[in-house]
């Protein structure tokens, strides 16, 4: 029953929403760009493979497509078994960190929030370092003990932070951030101590902490993929609620958002995808904070567009960052975390200057 608008509602002219169409085109454009960048990234490596061959090999893998192989089988192995899982894992991790960052920023109404804010990274790092220092290694489900401990560490520390911050049935955001920062600092100091006393294992530990895709295989993609897909889907469902959370909790409640439930669901989803992303590749900084802000500066703050655009931009960014990490000083690999910071920070500063808008969050 429309009690307010008894007269016939005038059609709202689409001229009032030109930016909606622009953002929809941006999603489409980035989707195509992601495919292009992924294929482009697979051409580079110790053996240069032509772009066209990559496309042929990839298309020949699709069902119902029959292309006679005109390439050596080693090329196919390099593409499908070595480069492709690495590119896909980089894309998945980039997407996961970017959307998790956007979610935390919206949920906490804090522009400095990133996927590691509430102790995920430090917990993962502690778990991984313990894994490195164990005198034995154990393989189950196709991967080693280090990712398993990293994943466990991330979840345990978030559980601790959540329970510390909870006041009765509510979860005050400031307490949550403070508890996360405090616990993160504790884990960080333990990690530092363990690194210093780790002897010859120090190099491996530090390399893990800075992030690397050098050990990517399909088995890891298979583990990370379901977490990221489910987590991203859940977060996307609540995009409109995140917009409203951006007001403040009181107004959000008055507009029909169950803020406590929303916080719990989104915290769980964002934390799970972050933990899944970091457990194999280490803590890659900057993606989670820089990508959502860059997207916000270019296409506006509406989470219904911000979230999918962040997923795509994050994936493209990390695929390219990993490409630089493995080719710039080949055969030596640079930690990808170093690349994301070196490329990301100036780009972000450029965006900030270009817009010259005092407030953008």
């Amino acid at each position: 029953m429309n009690i307010y608008h008894t007269t016939r509602a005038p059609m709202v002219r689409t001229v009032h929403f030109p930016h909606w169409r622009r953002r929809a085109y941006a999603i489409l454009g980035l989707l195509i760009a992601l495919g292009g960048v992924a294929a482009f990234a697979t051409t580079f490596g110790s053996v240069q493979i032509p772009f066209l061959t990559i496309c042929h090999v990839l298309f020949s893998q699709l069902p119902l497509v029959d292309i006679a192989p005109t390439w050596p089988s080693t090329t196919e192995t390099i593409i499908l078994e070595i480069r492709l899982p690495r590119v896909i894992l980089a894309g998945l991790v980039g997407a996961a960190l970017a959307i998790a960052g956007a979610t935390y920023q919206g949920l906490f109404r804090n522009p400095l929030a990133d996927p590691y804010l509430i102790g995920v990274a430090q917990g993962a790092a502690l778990g991984a370092v313990i894994g490195f220092l164990l005198p034995f290694n154990w393989y189950g489900m196709g991967f080693g003990i280090i990712p398993l401990l990293a994943f466990t560490g991330a979840l345990i520390s978030v559980a601790i932070v959540y329970n510390l911050a909870r006041v009765g049935k509510t979860l005050p955001v400031t307490t949550l951030i403070l508890a996360g920062v405090a616990l993160g600092a504790l884990w960080g100091s333990i990690v530092s101590y363990l690194i210093i006393t780790s002897g010859e294992k120090m190099h491996g530990i530090i390399f893990w902490l800075m992030g690397s895709f050098s050990l990517s295989e399909w088995s890891e993609v298979r583990v990370v993929l379901p977490y990221v897909v489910v987590g991203v889907a859940i977060i996307l469902l609540y995009a409109r609620s995140l917009n409203i959370m951006h007001l403040d909790e009181e107004q959000a409640q008055q507009l029909g958002v169950n803020t406590e439930r929303l916080k719990l669901i989104l915290l769980a989803a964002a934390t799970l995808i972050t933990a899944a992303a970091v457990c194999f590749v280490g803590t890659i900084g900057f993606v989670g904070i820089i990508i959502p802000h860059a997207v916000r500066l270019v296409w506006g703050p509406d989470y219904r567009f911000l979230l999918p655009l962040s997923v795509l931009t994050g994936a493209i960014f990390l695929i390219l960052a990993d490409l630089v990490a493995r080719t710039a000083l080949a055969p030596t690999e640079i930690p990808v975390g170093v690349v994301t910071a070196i490329c990301g920070a100036p780009f972000f500063l450029y965006l900030l200057r270009r817009k010259k808008r005092a407030v953008f969050f």
């Binding site: 509602a9 929403f17 469902l237 409109r240 609620s241 007001l247 008055q254 958002v257």
Partner: protein
Amino acid sequence: MIKLELQNVWLAYGSEVVVKDITFQVMPGEMVGLIGPNGSGKSTIIKAISRVISLYSGKILLDGKDVFKIPRRDLARLLGVVPQMPLLPSVFTAFEIVLMGRNPHLGLLQYEGARDLAITWQAMEKTATHTLAERRVGELSGGEIQRLVIARVLAQEPKSILLDEPTANLDISHQVEILDLIKNLCLENKLTVVAALHDLNLASQYCDRLILINNGRVHAEGTPRQVINPRNIKEVYGADGCVYTHPDIDLPVVLLKAGSSQKAKVKEALETNGD
């Protein structure tokens, strides 16, 4: 058409009780004003009805149902709130803010359709905010933001509206415009309206009934004529002999005189005693 009922409501922040044993009813099509000094508990009552703070004891019924047992989304379809000095994120456009009012009408998998956009647009036209649609909130003035939030409540299409100082940031022409709009909606659609107002003259002219609150208790309740009288004003606000009758309509108005505040009186008394 819904009735709002507060039964023996006590409210507290932590252990500090701020609202004591308040009972009142608001009928459909009725506009009730909550008046009283700063800190008397008006805003707290508005917050409790909209379920932002929990009850210490008592009961709040909307349409006969306990407000605290209605799911938030359903409650937001029944009850819209214009908060006092709302904070809005500066990067959203005015239209995006008003569109948020449609939230309780949309499911998890739904996007705003043509109808939601049209309702939003109409709400903006009614509040004269449609010319601001593409502007960012950060560029708007306090009064424009106030009207935007009222547009958002209209887009929400609730059956009951709570307003917490809706005219605080507005100039006099917009004060009258907004209250006229709310009053008309209230009468035409039989809305249940509760407004916390600090301006006694506006409260007197727009409200069918006034509830005067002092220190968290109901001090007086009734028509503006019954509530706004020299004795009540002196007891609650400590101001002397300042109630007159509006020259055009038969309603009380409050006009203050410089130096008539309680503090000035005390100072004067001290000075005379000292002599």
